[in-house]
Each structure stands twice: as structure tokens, then as C-alpha cells.
């Protein structure tokens, strides 16, 4: 399962009593070496490779300056991939957020049957995206799938053969897997809201709808930002799911950035341009994460309890 790259509130390392740092420093080395070798070096490597025209079959990697960038930036495939990525991101945010919020409120209550439901809700999170995509591919078959089973005319469509529908299917399947994750985040956030606030609101005669909009929603501000950041940044990297479900098709209807990168690099053997796409992927991700953080007005790790 590929969850979103987590955006975690960073607490500065608290000073502990230890003074003899020399005796613990070595313990950080194994992790540092492993992460530098397969995390930091590749990050630098992908930038360098974007200035080459490596074709992956040969051993030499010719430096070709800005050629890859020029070819990627002038290719109409790039704006298309960006647009598809943006559509998937926006639609899955729009679809997931209200449902996760609603379900989060629902399972936050301490009721036995709701915890049982919650247990079942989380099952999709455990499955691999490959398994989920394979299942949906078969399930959406117009003749032998769910549509035929339920007998609903509107379900019997060529879901993966039509450009618009295929995109919607990708959004739905993504949501099917990740709504439970965000529900869990919202459940945690909701349980942090002090009961006294609801009691006070009740005394003031506020109805449940008003309580939701005046207490729950504002109190969840930072939870919403965290959840949205994970959704938005995570959606940039959807690969497994799209690749198995549609392989970017039909045509290039679901060819999002990560899929575009894979196809250029590992199908067309154009590692230079593929690396350029990867660099764009990293930059867009960083920009979005920082932008959302700014939207929060301050550090997302700050208390949600202002005004209590």
C-alpha cells in the first residue's frame, strides 16, 4: 500500500540530559547510511539524470544538457498529465473529504455497533492496490460484473473504456481505499473536542446542525488541513492503482504524472525526460505541501483548541 508521504508536525528534538553525544552518535549511522544511499542520493540522481539522455539499455549515460527538459516542456503530453493529475487530486479530495468527515463523526461516538462497523470500514486499507485494482477491473465488467448482478442499467457501462468514466473510476477506487484512513484521522480529531463545548452549545439552545458547523468544523480545522495535505500530496504519487486498473488509458485519459514518468522511462526507454517528469513531481509535491501549510495560517502541529 502506498499511503501519502506523511506530513508530520515536526517537534524540535527536546534537550535531554545526555551530554556525552560522542557515545551515542554512532547509533545514528546505520540509518543515516541506508537512507542517504537509497533516498538522498537518488533524489540528487534524479535531478542529474534529467540532464542526460540515458536510454537504460546502454551503460553509458550521455550528458545532453537541457535537451530532456526542452523535449518534456514542449511535449503536449506534460500539460495533459498535469491536468489529469490535478483532476484526480481535486475530484478525490471533493469526494473523500465530506464522506470521511461524516463517517468520522459517526464512528467517533462511543457506541458498540459503530465500532463494529468501523472494523469493517478499515478492511480496504489493508489490501494492496494491485489487488484492489484487479478486483475492480473485473467488478466493473459491463456484462459479468456488478452492473449485471444488480440489474441496474446505469451500472452496465463500459467503465474503463470511456475517458471520462475511467477517470471517475480511478477517483472512486482511490476513495474506496483511502476514505477509511481519513475517517480514522477525523475520528481522532473529533474525539479531541471537549464535550463541554457541546454542553455549552446545548444550553444556549443550538441545534445539532449548528453545533456541527459552529463547533465541530472549526475545531477540526487543523485536522482538515492535515487530512487534505495527505490526500493532495499523496494523489501525486498514485501509480500502482492507475497502472493496474487502466495503465493510463483509455488512450491517455488517466495518464497522470507518475504513470507518464513510468511510461516514458521504462516503456519508451527515455530516462532523461522521465527523470525531468520525476523532478516536476517532487517540486509540485513540495509546493502543494508548503502551500497547504501556509493556508493553515500557522504550523499544523499547533493546538486545535484555540479559543477554548
Amino acid at each position: 500500500m502506498t499511503l501519502a508521504p506523511p506530513v508530520v508536525p515536526s517537534a524540535p528534538p527536546a534537550a535531554s540530559s545526555g551530554g556525552r553525544s560522542g557515545s551515542v552518535t554512532w547509533m545514528a549511522w546505520p540509518a543515516l547510511v541506508a537512507f542517504v544511499a537509497f533516498g538522498v542520493v537518488p533524489l540528487i540522481g534524479v535531478v542529474l539524470l534529467s540532464f542526460t539522455s540515458w536510454n537504460r539499455l546502454s551503460t553509458d549515460i550521455p550528458f545532453t544538457g537541457l535537451d530532456s527538459w526542452r523535449s518534456v516542456l514542449s511535449d503536449p503530453g506534460l500539460p495533459h498529465a498535469l491536468w489529469v493529475t490535478f483532476l484526480i487530486m481535486a475530484l478525490s479530495w471533493l469526494f473523500q473529504t465530506p464522506i470521511s468527515l461524516l463517517l468520522g463523526v459517526f464512528i467517533a461516538a462511543h457506541k458498540r455497533y459503530r465500532s463494529v462497523l468501523a472494523v469493517l470500514f478499515f478492511v480496504p486499507l489493508l489490501l494492496s492496490q494491485a489487488a484492489i485494482s484487479i478486483t475492480y477491473k473485473a467488478l466493473l465488467d459491463p456484462n459479468f460484473g456488478l452492473g449485471a448482478g444488480l440489474g441496474f442499467e446505469f451500472l452496465q457501462q463500459d467503465w474503463l473504456g470511456d475517458s471520462t468514466l475511467a477517470l471517475c473510476v480511478v477517483v472512486f477506487v482511490v476513495s474506496w481505499q483511502f476514505i477509511p484512513f481519513h475517517t480514522l484521522i477525523y475520528q481522532g480529531g473529533i474525539r479531541q473536542i471537549p464535550t463541554s463545548m457541546y454542553e455549552a452549545a446545548q444550553i444556549d439552545g443550538a441545534g445539532r446542525i449548528r453545533q456541527f458547523f459552529n463547533i465541530t468544523l472549526p475545531q477540526l480545522k487543523y485536522t482538515i488541513i492535515t487530512s487534505s495535505t495527505l490526500m493532495v500530496v499523496g494523489s501525486l504519487t498514485f501509480f500502482d492503482l492507475i497502472w493496474v486498473l487502466t495503465a493510463g488509458g483509455p488512450g491517455d485519459a488517466t495518464r497522470a504524472l507518475a504513470v507518464d514518468m513510468y511510461q516514458r522511462g521504462f516503456k519508451a526507454d527515455l530516462m532523461g525526460p522521465a527523470s525531468a517528469i520525476a523532478v516536476i513531481l517532487v517540486l509540485v509535491g513540495l509546493a502543494l505541501a508548503l502551500g497547504l501549510r501556509r493556508l493553515g495560517g500557522r504550523d499544523a502541529s499547533a493546538s486545535q483548541l484555540e479559543g477554548v
Partner: protein
Amino acid sequence: MTTTLDKRPPGAHARPTPPSKGRGFNLLRYNLLGGVAGWLWLVVVLLPIYWIVITSFKVQADYYATNPLAPPTNPTLDNYRFVLENDFVRYFINSVIVTVGAVGPAVLVSFMAAYAIVRGSAASRFLRGVNGLFLMGLAIPLQAVIIPIYLIIIKIQMYDTLGAIILPSLAFAIPLSVLVLSNFVRDVPKELFESMRMDGATEWGTLWRLAFPLTRPALVTVTIYQGLTVWNGFILPLILTQSPEQRTLPLALWSFQGQYTINIPAVLASVVLTTLPILTLYILGRRQLLSGLTAGFSK
């Protein structure tokens, strides 16, 4: 459930007391809209799962002839036998090797690093730098650096081995593990470290005899989360291996599906078989698993 991992910055307002059972939460008690959504979502979740399971027991001819949602008229285990005969056991073992080989070392080195960061950061700029690097590392998506990883793996002549999947999986498990574990090591009271030092314990001894037992729940949680991620990983095996003998389950599933496109019941039986181990784990250790899923971002 998630509150075990909840972290608040020290300067924040006092933590509210969790709502007591059944009291308060008026909003949540008779939540009609939420109720409708909850039950509806249950159907949305369970319908595909129900369909996978019943279809995996159907004979292929029945799949095309009967209503997709009707239970099999003459259930069969042939699909499962077919999948098992197709090297499923091998892929299963591969997945176990990759998961254990990546997650075990990753959690161990992350725990050591977390300990070093918490204990040494005050006096060491180097360790503060390491901590910063791991925090930045959280933002590196695996997909975006897959091309250089592929190149490195070829250069060190590990292409098409299980090790090729293990090494990057291990590395990418480190940043989040360090973050979560250091938050927990930080919670160990300073006095305990001090008294260990008085007793003449080395840092290595303190790590195992003090920090390890006190952070064990977090270690389990992190292990489960990373285990699930590696077990379900698809892109690394896809790119870093090619021969069928090196396939892990998700990749095997995909190629199986490509090979037997029309034998849907068998394909779904393979889906059931790959998921079964995780589901068993879920039933056994649900709480650990769920807190593992939100480890590090419990807000």
C-alpha cells in the same frame, strides 16, 4: 484508538479529557445523516469483498452463466488449487523474505537513530542535522526517485534479486519510523536515563534495558505499518525484478491477471489468498494495526 499515538507540542493548551462513555456528544448520538452514510458505506465496502469471495468459489463456466451476485451453486476449491499450483507458495515466501528483510533492519536502525537523536541532539549539531534530514526525507516520494534507484541497483549488480526490493524498502521505511520512535523515546523520563547512567550502564545497555521495553508498543506499531507497506508494495518489484522466480505477491497477482484474463474466479482466488495473511493479522491485532496506520499523523 488513535489517541495512543497522539502527540501535542509541549506548549499547547491542556489536553481535554476524553468524552466519557455515553455522556455528552449529543451531536453524535442521534446522527441521522451519519447513520445513513455509515450503513451505506458499509455496503460499498462489503459488496466488492463479498463478490470476490463468492466468485472465487465458482467454476469458470458458472461465472459467465450465473448472476454475479448469487452464491455459487456448486462451490469448488479448484480455483484455489489452480493458484497454489501456479507457484503461489513461492511468491508468498518471497513476500515474507522481502517484508521481514526490509522491516526488521529498518525498525532496528531507526530505533537506534531515534535513541541517538533524543539522547545526543542537545550536544551534537550533527545529530540535529540527521534529524532534520529524516524529517525532510518524509517528503521524498518513492515513485519520484525510482529511476536513480533502478540505476543504483543495476550498478551494484543486484537487479532481479529480492535484495533489490529489500534495500530501497528498508531505506524508505526509515524517516517515518525515526520520527515516531523518537517521539516515544523522548517520553521516557529523564530521571530513568540518569539513574541508568549512575549505575554505570553504557548507552547501548540503556538503549536495550530502558528505552526498548518502554517503547515496545510504538515499535510494534511502526513494524506493523511498515510491514503492511512493504507487503503491498508494487512499484519496486515491478521495476527492480523481471524473472518470475523473484516476484512478490502484488506483482504475481498482476501478472497472473494478465495471463489468465478470462479466468476471473482463479484471479479472485489469488486475490483472496494474498489478502488472507493480512486479514488474519488484522483480526488478531486490530488495535495495533489501526494505530499503526495513522502512526505519525494522528491529528
